[in-house]
């Protein structure tokens, strides 16, 4: 059912060029004696249409990795190739602009279009995340889950090929999170996105990912690359998901306890 892929490149990337490819990427913060190695020679790739979950305990540099891919930060060594693909990113917070309405926030990502097209496109995207009736609301009038869906719609508005998600559902209640998993899976399928999804929730990673990449902490390196061959749609509470999540959790605990010694 599962096979930890020893090759970091993963089998599926042999065909077309990967959508994202990190090659021996390192990131050092600070200088001299107080410097901190956040990422150490991380190599990883994701194909177009592939859902990759990055899993690790605190200090594994998962968020750093996404920031590097998004261009919010520069790697200290190594290369990141995205082949000129459009990249969108979602954060744990919705990061919506409070002075704009829901539509206004989405239209911000559609600045290249003319006014009329922009309005149409924003309305379409709101329908995709089932928020058609909330276009004129302001972010603070929505619940946390709804704001995160607006944030998703804004990311989709960028017509991205690659979607980076930094614990996007971490702050939501379990029921909302389950529903958003279903929604994200549907949207990912429809748009053939490459998704890099950072989480510390093992079940969430198994529920969503084609692959679950396990990272060590301080410095962050790839220690395991699981292929999840479970049939979709999966349920977070299903026995199969629980079984694989259990396996991965054992490995994760080993890694974490290494730091206590």
């Amino acid at each position: 059912m599962t096979a930890p892929a020893q090759e970091l490149g993963h089998g599926r990337t042999e065909g077309p060029a990967p959508a994202v490819r990190l090659d021996a990427v390192s990131k050092v913060y600070g200088r001299g004696a107080t410097s901190l190695l956040a990422l150490d020679q991380v190599s990883l790739s994701a194909a177009q249409g592939e859902f990759v979950c990055l899993l690790g305990a605190s200090g594994c540099g998962k968020s750093t990795m996404l920031n590097l891919v998004a261009g919010l930060d520069r790697p200290s060594a190594g290369t990141i190739e995205t082949g000129g693909k459009q990249i969108a990113m979602m954060f744990q917070e919705p990061a919506l602009f409070p002075w704009l309405t829901v539509t206004g926030n989405i239209e911000l990502a559609l600045r290249a279009l003319d006014r009329k097209k922009r309005k149409e496109r924003a309305a379409e995207l709101l329908d995709v995340v089932h928020l058609g009736g909330f276009a004129k609301k302001r972010p603070h009038e929505l619940s946390g889950g709804m704001r995160q869906r607006v944030s998703l719609a804004r990311a989709l508005a960028q017509e991205a090929d690659v979607l980076l998600m930094d614990e996007p559902f971490g702050a939501l209640d379990a029921m909302t999170r389950d529903l958003l998993h279903d929604e994200l899976e549907r949207i990912w399928r429809e748009r053939n996105l490459a998704i890099l999804f950072v989480t510390h929730n093992v079940r969430e990673a198994v529920r969503l990912g084609d692959r679950v990449v396990l990272l060590s902490s301080r410095p962050g390196t790839v220690i395991e690359d699981y292929t999840v061959d479970l049939e979709r749609p999966r349920r977070t509470e299903s026995a199969e998901v629980a079984k694989l999540a259990g396996e991965i959790t054992v490995r994760l605990k080993e890694e974490v306890s290494r730091h206590g010694r």
Partner: protein, 285 residues
Amino acid sequence: MAVETRDQIAGLDALETQVKAKRNIPAAIWGRVWPMALAIAIVLIIWEAVVLAGFWPEYVFAGPATALGELGTRLGEGEFWHAVATTMRRAVSGFLLAIVVGVVVGAAVSRIKLLRAAFGSLITGLQTMPSIAWFPLAILLFGLTENAITFVVVLGAAPSIANGLITGVDYTPPILLRAGHVLGLRRLSLYRHLILPASLPSFLAGLKQGWAFAWRSLMAGEILVIIANQPSLGEQLHFARELADSARLLATMIVILLIGIVVDVLFGAADNALRRRWGLDQRIG
């Protein structure tokens, strides 16, 4: 699946966005008016009590009835309205000029690191400088003219306005900056779509403080710089003192206070509207 995902989502959304209870508007107004009325009543009582205590003769310190009576008479006089108009014209034009100066300086200082290092603390220092200390210099430079007054009003208000803008730019939430970067906002579009709107609340606070400084500077200026045949509120204060007309003096002071309160209420309304729009007004419970 028993229930469609879409329906579950719609259900949760409906539950999580309950409409607020409608406010009872007359009750809300009454709730705000009566404490103010009470405060005014208390002030009038204390005022009357001090007058009745007889520390000063009536022509030095008039009672509320005399002063308010004088105010009533003055409201019917052309000269009074002329004075209010002159003062307000000076206040508004000085304040507008201060906004221009404050925005230009604030934008430059917040944007350019060297300017920040050089002038950042100087601007804050200027804020603490009592504006009346500028008048001797202003009078030397411009003579007893309206320019001297404008000079001091601008110097009083512009640092607060510049500081409001600088603070707003500095405190643009980092998460929004990151989101803006991912959305492709750079340079001019970054300012237009993100940094300027994000700094609005702080800028508004700077404007409010700037106005208070402008108003104080203006009153100091009008008392010191008296221009012939140009009645203004400050000038009226000055002559009321010279003529020992305490009712007239107190009546003018009440007008100055009222104008200050009205403008403050306007700024407060703008601030409240902004908070409501941004969802910063949500109280606990």
